[in-house]
Symmetry: C2
Subunit: 322 residues, 2 copies
């Protein structure tokens, strides 16, 4: 046995077994036990991260720990749920402490910021794979769904889009950036910030919401399909960093519309609630931008600032076709 290798039970004890706080019973028995507060529903989501698909082998373990939980918290945010707890299933080629220590550090730093407790898990040898299931709570009937968008509603997005995709294009060798700019977009790709506070602030205000993980076109398509509506997106109104804004127009549009890995919220709200949306976003300390309108029908139109239709050869990300 090598000095940097530890056994399965030791690994769980050392890195993942923390005293239960909110949970009635945490890591270390057959099941964890939790209870939502009275009158609250439990919101559940799970995301699996695979090397080469959701992260590159070059990512720092601390950032990987952050991202694995962040993409799950982002789903809670899109529902307007308050994070409670999560489980982690982890397949690792070997139990390498040089990986596990910073991974756990990144994971728990984010978890603690959101009061989200690790309540159970499973570790096994195998090709690197991280599957997290996250639990949040919200008052019964108040979840933000994908199905409530209606013609005339505004379309909003949080933060800035496209930097994660721009970073990926640097890794792919298609784009080159100065070192400090690369670090900034790489941070967007590797350390997304889940919009939990915004999701909570939008309860009772947004008519639909989704988090942007597969690219705006594909994710907005889910809202359109489930709401039975069409949409118009004004591409020039999509928020972007100065770094992305300095790239060629085609690359900009690709990163904004089909980027993926943004983990920003896209949501809809009635025109009459514009002020309320801006106040909610300010209270959540999160930038939001109005970038389109829900239409009758089922078509997606993308237009520029002059209203001219923009060609859109990109599709949302499909794990089995990309």
């Amino acid at each position: 046995m090598r000095a940097d290798m530890i056994g399965e039970f030791e690994l769980i004890e050392k890195y993942f077994n923390r005293p239960a706080r909110r949970a009635a019973l945490g890591v270390g028995d057959d099941c964890a036990l939790i209870e939502p507060d009275p009158g609250m529903q439990l919101a559940i989501s799970c995301d699996m991260l695979v090397e080469g698909r959701h992260f590159l082998s070059t990512v720092a373990p601390q950032r990987l720990g952050h991202k694995a939980l962040a993409v799950n918290l982002s789903d809670l945010a899109a529902c307007g749920a308050e994070p409670l707890a999560f489980t982690l299933a982890l397949a690792l080629p070997r139990a390498d402490e040089a990986f596990l220590a910073p991974f756990a550090q990144g994971l728990f730093a984010l978890a603690e910021r959101h009061g989200c407790e690790l309540v159970g898990g499973d570790t096994t040898a195998g090709p690197l794979n991280l599957a997290i299931t996250v639990f949040g709570q919200l008052p019964a009937g108040q979840a933000l769904l994908r199905s409530g968008a209606r013609p005339g509603h505004d379309i909003w997005v949080s933060g800035r889009l496209g930097d994660a995709r721009l970073a990926l294009e640097v890794f792919r060798g298609r784009v080159s950036l100065p070192g400090d700019e690369f670090e900034q977009v790489r941070r967007a790709m590797e350390c997304p910030e889940p919009r939990v506070a915004l999701g909570l602030a939008l309860r009772g205000l947004a008519t639909s919401a989704i988090d942007l993980s597969d690219g705006l076109v594909g994710d907005l398509g889910q809202v359109m399909r489930r709401s039975g509506v069409g949409a118009t997106i004004e591409v020039d109104a999509l928020p972007r960093s100065d770094i992305l804004a300095a790239q060629g127009p085609l690359l900009q549009r690709e990163c904004l519309l089909a980027g993926g890995d943004d983990y920003e919220l896209l949501f809809t709200a009635p025109r009459s609630r514009r002020e309320a949306v801006l106040e909610a976003a300010a209270a959540a300390n999160t930038e939001v931008s109005r970038c389109g309108t829900i239409d009758a029908g089922e078509a997606l139109r993308v237009v520029d600032a002059r209203g001219a239709v923009v060609a859109m050869p990109w599709q949302g990300y499909d794990h089995f076709r990309s």
Copy 2:
């Protein structure tokens, strides 16, 4: 695109999207929404299955679907929880319908037998990996824990042990069996039956419980550690099939004590409750056998029918040391 390949969203729609029944919201939004009944706690467990570790490449997809959920239901059984729902995160090398159709069939056949609803999931391309998180409910404070075993309590196990390990030894070429006997032990390995009814029947009766997944010695060790007790196991009293009973004594003991993959319950109960345990087991239509005693101290002794100590060179299964 090949004819047997489908896209990610089509895949989810076709195989995994069923109408929500108990859940307030099921597959297809950012989160699923569920509520335990009033006064009930939610029991949560997750298990990840990796090819070559938890199943062989030779397993029929239908049985793999069954087993992936069965090992998770087994954790609920060990807690005495009633199954409610589960999430599935699935990494697949390719979206192959010849795999997915029977996989989903095996998965849902078991899920429906236990009234356990698929409420969410994630599919991605990657090395084959199945991560299920399962949710059950139980009256607050009534969970069967690993920590309640006390000196003098009887040790019981359900079903028969060791057949799964015997099948593995056939696959490894160490043992050979006639075809029908191989089919029987292979079924034990590939189609374990989670002891959900027994777990429910043992609430208020068993003082501790665990499901046997890593081998009796290792799993009993978890109960001993968390309860702060020792134990004596009578190896000749461990229940086994006629097929295992016909093997050599050393192989029998290895399969019984360090087999793994049994998915039977090991539990403890006071001597005064022997009749009640047998009645509960009969009501759950599940065979149980008394096979040892909890001791003071912290040692595990394994003895034969004459009380002589049996050598025990095997350890519980450790995914990073085996």
